[in-house]
Amino acid sequence: MMKIKIVLFASLRETLDSDGFDFEVAVGSTVASVVGALGAGRGEMWARVLGEDNVLTAVNHTMVNAPQVLAAGDELAFFPPVTGG
């Protein structure tokens, strides 16, 4: 197992009532498999919210897609489409 950091922003942070936490995942986990583990470990709401089509993911401040493989210490962020400016 390895430890990564999960962070959540905006509507995801509010809906899931969490701004993030450290999380233990299997070595070789992908973004997709972490979403699966979060749904399994934290309940239906997490599976549903993180599974929505428009949820964006970043690893260490760079946008990534679901197949992205994670390394120990990575910061994995989930957030909705951006609306700044």
Binding site: F9, A10, H61, A77, P80, P81, V82, T83, G84, G85
Partner: protein, 154 residues
Amino acid sequence: MRIVVQAEDFDSGAEIKRLADQSNGVGAVNSFVGFVRDNNEDTHVGSLFLEHYPGMTEKQIQTILTEAEERWVVLSATVIHRVGELTPGEQIVFVGVASPHRGDAFDACEYIIDYLKTRATFWKKESTPDGFRWLETRQTDVDSADKWKQPEKS
């Protein structure tokens, strides 16, 4: 290149002069300032709450500025974006570009704000008479950014 994310208001005039002072040969500064409107989609807006992803936001803005510098003659560029709670009439964002000539300044500034709207990790929540609502991406913003896509060289 000056990138600031802060709760405080900013002085656009001082930023414009700073852009001109950064470099010799500045003939033109184009700048964009976004303001909180008092209504959105026909609903009265009481206040706006802006959140960002510290670290990632600044990095994305830097990438957008670098792209603009590769595409136009940019002598200096500044982005200031406020976060936290803002009320109608308040300044939200400043984008400024200094160039020798104005065409480059206009295009680079519009490029930066168009991509900032679609790629920088900021999120807006509005306070309306019906409560808070998180804003969704506007299709017009996606279209504005898409206009800068260059055709592939064949």
